[in-house]
Structures are given as structure tokens and as C-alpha cells.
């Protein structure tokens, strides 16, 4: 199996736009997932009776195969980017919800009590004490969700989207390995770079975790 380097050189523009499109789908899904999971996680954390239901329901979502989700969405949003993003959002949501609830649970009771006793109201406590302290666990979820979404985008090739995934179908159909290899390498690169950037972001956001006494 040899790589046809000239094919790569001839298609740099296509590869760039596919990579960007791939990244955009994955990141939009993670951001939407965060937006939806955050309030749900706060509810699951605060309202004990709803906790089991929310986490259970999200776990059920996770068991649906990704292709099935796209197919189920077809009557709603058709063969569009929207379908891709909704599908991916569902998966990142599950990971983010679980981690955010876990992160909120990990905040020491003593610290929350102290915030309350100082006269901090609940919303401010959530925003300035609980979420920052939950951040390391939430970020662990964001990293998993991001890498997972980047790898899942390709599945949306079946509904005509799929970013770099299109290189796989192209390569298979023509029995021409170069696009497949390039697709795999670019997907991997995207995942690794995105993950490294998230680690850096977490470092910036959690200054208290840096120097150990």
C-alpha cells in the first residue's frame, strides 16, 4: 500500500475545507452539549429525586448506535449539517452530564457551607465556588466528549456529511488507499491537537492546581 503524494498535493484545498468542516461539526456538538448538560447537571445535583432519572435517561441515549440516531433524525432535519450536529450533541451530552454531576458532587461540603455562612447566595455560590471547583472533572468530560465527537463525525458520511469521513468512502469506492490514510491521519491529528489545547486551557483556568506546596 503506497501513498500517492501527488494526490495529496492536488487536493490541499479540499483537505483543508474537509478538516475545518469536520472540526466545526465536532466543536459545535461539544459546545451545545455543554450548554444543555450544564443546567441538567445542576438540576441532577440539587434535586436528588431527578438525579437517577436524568443520568439513567442519558445512559439509554448512549446505547443507541450512532448511525441509528442519524437515521432517526432524518425525518426531522433531513440530510443536513443540523442532523450531524444534533446526533453528536446527544453523545457529548451524555459524557458531559455525567462528569459535570460528578464534578459538582466532588466539591467539599465544608467549602459550600463556608460560602453560605459568609453570606453567598446560591446562584453566586454555584458560579463562583461550585463550578470552578468542579472544573477539573468537567474538563475531563470535555476532553472525552471532544475526542469522541471528532471520531464520530465520520459516521455522518452516511447522511452525506461527515467531514474527513468522506475521504474514507471516496477511497473505498475507488479502491484507492491514499484518501483513507490521509483521512485517518488528519482525524487523529485533530483529536490530538484538540486534546492538547484543552489540557492547556484547563491549566490556564485552574491556577490553584499548578504549584503544589
Amino acid at each position: 500500500m503506497t501513498i500517492d503524494w501527488s494526490w495529496i498535493a492536488d487536493h490541499t484545498d479540499d483537505l483543508t475545507s474537509l478538516t475545518l468542516s469536520h472540526l466545526e461539526a465536532a466543536l459545535t456538538a461539544v459546545l451545545l452539549g455543554l450548554l444543555v448538560s450544564l443546567p441538567l447537571a445542576v438540576i441532577a445535583h440539587r434535586v436528588r429525586p431527578l438525579r437517577g432519572f436524568l443520568l439513567g435517561a442519558s445512559n439509554v441515549l448512549f446505547t443507541i448506535p450512532s448511525i441509528a440516531i442519524f437515521v432517526l433524525l432524518l425525518p426531522v432535519s433531513g440530510l443536513t449539517r443540523t442532523t450531524t450536529v444534533i446526533g453528536l450533541t446527544v453523545y457529548s451530552l451524555v459524557v458531559l452530564l455525567r462528569n459535570t454531576v460528578e464534578g459538582l458532587d466532588s466539591v467539599p461540603v465544608r467549602v459550600k457551607e463556608a460560602a453560605k455562612a459568609m453570606g453567598t447566595r446560591p446562584l453566586r455560590t454555584l458560579l463562583t465556588v461550585e463550578l470552578p471547583l468542579a472544573l477539573p472533572v468537567i474538563m475531563a468530560g470535555v476532553r472525552i466528549a471532544t475526542v469522541m465527537s471528532i471520531s464520530l463525525v465520520s459516521v455522518a458520511t452516511y447522511i452525506g456529511d461527515g467531514g474527513l469521513g468522506q475521504l474514507f468512502t471516496d477511497g473505498f469506492q475507488r479502491n484507492f488507499p491514499t484518501p483513507v490514510i490521509v483521512g485517518v491521519v488528519l482525524t487523529l491529528l485533530l483529536a490530538v491537537v484538540a486534546d492538547a489545547l484543552l489540557v492547556a486551557l484547563q491549566y490556564v483556568l485552574t491556577p490553584w492546581k499548578r504549584r503544589r506546596a
Binding site: 467539599p108 465544608r110 467549602v111 457551607e113 455562612a117 459568609m118 453567598t120 504549584r211 503544589r212 506546596a213
Partner: protein, 345 residues
């Protein structure tokens, strides 16, 4: 002043934490709540800033019913210190201390300036301000906790076993600091502990609680040690309560005489007349721990027992020898103190 009037607290699970409590905690004084665990002392403290709501009865701080005030605003007006400080791990020491001023809407600059000032007040170096709590020792964290409680200069301070998690040496230091601070600041302090020695040391008044949330006795430390209300209080104070009483009396009124310059043992002084040690006729040496007027009869007795002559060396503020006092004089004084107070056996 903090007033509890017929306050009752029953938890949803049916346990009574505080039973019909009426108690006044005087303004500018330290009221210590003591008792074994589960006696309701912490619940009592937490009802003052509404961390726990009473089932019935009223609690007034400065004459105002606490339940008629906005809980968050009330809490900002009351300092709160808990074990290990309960510091925010993600905020620098300075920002921890500035918590309440920022909640009160001070601008960040002013709040930080106030926090820096408080670092000094509680005896921490200025460079500790930029650190995070986990980079400090337990004792330092506790000091930050005190500074944070003092930040908005509240008239009332609630301290829930604040020194429970530090070693005995640091604990004594922190107690000394608190006494020093209190002399300057004159806060109304409510202090919870299960350590009776800490209570005797810090309290202007001590309230002893019994399991089930009953207040058994509330009195000044001397009164409590001299005349415990019942066997429970006597038992809680321990078998050495007579000696503990001596820890509250100072040496000031005990007479002193000149140091012996001949005999088996003589007191050796340095050129500034500060006692160095005891020396015997055959050149053996024994240590001496000089005491000042503010030291207690208990330490005097302790020192006299350790001294080879039964004499203690008395010094002034500069450490210069003023005279010696015999064990007999100390004992006689101790005896008189007990008789005066009518100490019950």
C-alpha cells in the same frame, strides 16, 4: 449582645438538638459553648447566623430577631470561622479574606487592601497573600480563616471548633493570638469547643451543655470551676478542676522575698540579673523557668515542684530577677483563693 429566648430545635428525624434554651451572650465577651458531641452546642452556634433555623423561640443579635432579616445579609454581618478554616481552595489567601467585603459590594482594590491589612493583624507574612490555601500549614490556614471572618469588621464572631484540627503547640499559639486580638477588637464571640481547658482559657463565660440539648450551667470560668451546678458539670470539668481554677489566678498578689545567696542551692544570674539556673554547693546545675506577675498560680506551683529549693524565680517584664517565692506561699495563696470562692469538694 446575643439573646436566646426559649429556643428549641428539633431536626426532621425527630432528635431534639437544643432544648428550651434561654441564654444571653454579653456584648464584647467570649461565650464558650462546651459539651460532648451531640449536645447541641454547634447547632446553637449555627442558629445565630441562620445556618440552622430554630423550631421555636427567638434569637436576637443586637436586639434584632435574626429570622426577620435576610439570611444572606445577616450572615455577611457575622464573622464565621470553622475547623481547618473552610477556605476556598481555588482562591488565593488574599481573595479568601476579601470574600465578605466583595459580597458587600466593595471594589476589588479596597477589598484587597483590607485583606492585606488583616494578614498582618492575624500574624501572617504579606507574601502569604498570593498563595493558595493548600500551600499553607494547618495553623496558617486557621489564621486565614480568622482573618476572613474579621474582614468586614463584624461585631459578632462565631467560631465552631476553630482550633480542633491543629496540634497542641499551634493550638496554644492560636488561642494566645485570639486573646490578644480580642483585647484590641472587643468582638462578641461565640466559641464552640469540646475541650474544657480551651474553654477555661478563652471564655469570659462558659455554657455547659448536656446531651439532648440541655444547657446545664452558664457561668464565668472561676464560678464554674468553684461551684459546678451538678455532678454532670463537675464530671465534665474533670478531677483537676481545683488546679484548673489556679490557672485563672495570677501570681501578682503572692509575696516575694530575696533570693538565697548561700545554702545548698543558689540562683545563678547573668550580668543583666536574669536567672540562668540553680547551682548546688557541689556544682550541679538545675534549670529554672522564671515567672512574671501575669503567670498563673498553676504554673507557679508546677515550677515550684520542679525547683530543687521549692522556690520560684520572679522576674519583671525585662526578665530581671525581682525576688523568689516559696512553695508554701503559693500553696497558701491557692488555698485562700479556693476558700474565697467557696470551692465545693
Amino acid at each position: 449582645m446575643i439573646q436566646f429566648d426559649a429556643v428549641h430545635k428539633r431536626f426532621p428525624n425527630g432528635t431534639t438538638a437544643v432544648h428550651d434554651l434561654s441564654l444571653e451572650m454579653p456584648e464584647g465577651g467570649v461565650t464558650v459553648l462546651v459539651g460532648s458531641s451531640g449536645c447541641g452546642k454547634t447547632t446553637t452556634l449555627r442558629m445565630v447566623n441562620r445556618m440552622v433555623e430554630p423550631t421555636s423561640g427567638t434569637i436576637r443579635v443586637g436586639g434584632r430577631d435574626v429570622t426577620r432579616q435576610d439570611a444572606a445579609e445577616l450572615r455577611r454581618s457575622i464573622g464565621y470561622v470553622i475547623q481547618q478554616g473552610g477556605l476556598f481552595p481555588h482562591r488565593t489567601v488574599l481573595d479568601n479574606i476579601a470574600t465578605v467585603p466583595l459580597l458587600l459590594g466593595w471594589n476589588r482594590r479596597k477589598a484587597r487592601a483590607r485583606a492585606a491589612e488583616l494578614l498582618e493583624t492575624v500574624g501572617l507574612a504579606a507574601d502569604a497573600g498570593k498563595r493558595y490555601p493548600h500551600q499553607l500549614s494547618g495553623g496558617q490556614q486557621q489564621r486565614v480563616g480568622v482573618a476572613r471572618a474579621l474582614a468586614a469588621d463584624p461585631p459578632v464572631l462565631l467560631m465552631d471548633e476553630p482550633f480542633g484540627a491543629v496540634d497542641p503547640v499551634v493550638r496554644t499559639q492560636l488561642q494566645d493570638e485570639l486573646l490578644r486580638l480580642q483585647k484590641e477588637l472587643n468582638k462578641t464571640i461565640v466559641f464552640v469547643t469540646h475541650d474544657i481547658d480551651e474553654a477555661v482559657r478563652l471564655g469570659d463565660r462558659i455554657a455547659v451543655f448536656r446531651t439532648g440539648g440541655h444547657l446545664v450551667q452558664c457561668a464565668a470560668p472561676e464560678e464554674l470551676l468553684a461551684r459546678p451546678a451538678d455532678d454532670f458539670v463537675a464530671g465534665f470539668l474533670g478531677a483537676e478542676r481545683g488546679l484548673k481554677l489556679l490557672s485563672l489566678r495570677t501570681l501578682a498578689a503572692v509575696p516575694q522575698g530575696p533570693a538565697p545567696d548561700s545554702g545548698t542551692w543558689t540562683l545563678v544570674l547573668d550580668e543583666a540579673r536574669r536567672p540562668l539556673h540553680w547551682r548546688s554547693a557541689d556544682d550541679a546545675e538545675r534549670p529554672v523557668r522564671p515567672l512574671g506577675d501575669s503567670d498563673s498560680l498553676l504554673s507557679a506551683l508546677n515550677e515550684s515542684v520542679a525547683s530543687p529549693t521549692g522556690l520560684i524565680a520572679r522576674v519583671d517584664a525585662d526578665g530581671e530577677l525581682t525576688g523568689v517565692t516559696s512553695r508554701d506561699d503559693i500553696l497558701e495563696h491557692a488555698n485562700r483563693a479556693h476558700a474565697e470562692l467557696g470551692v465545693a469538694a
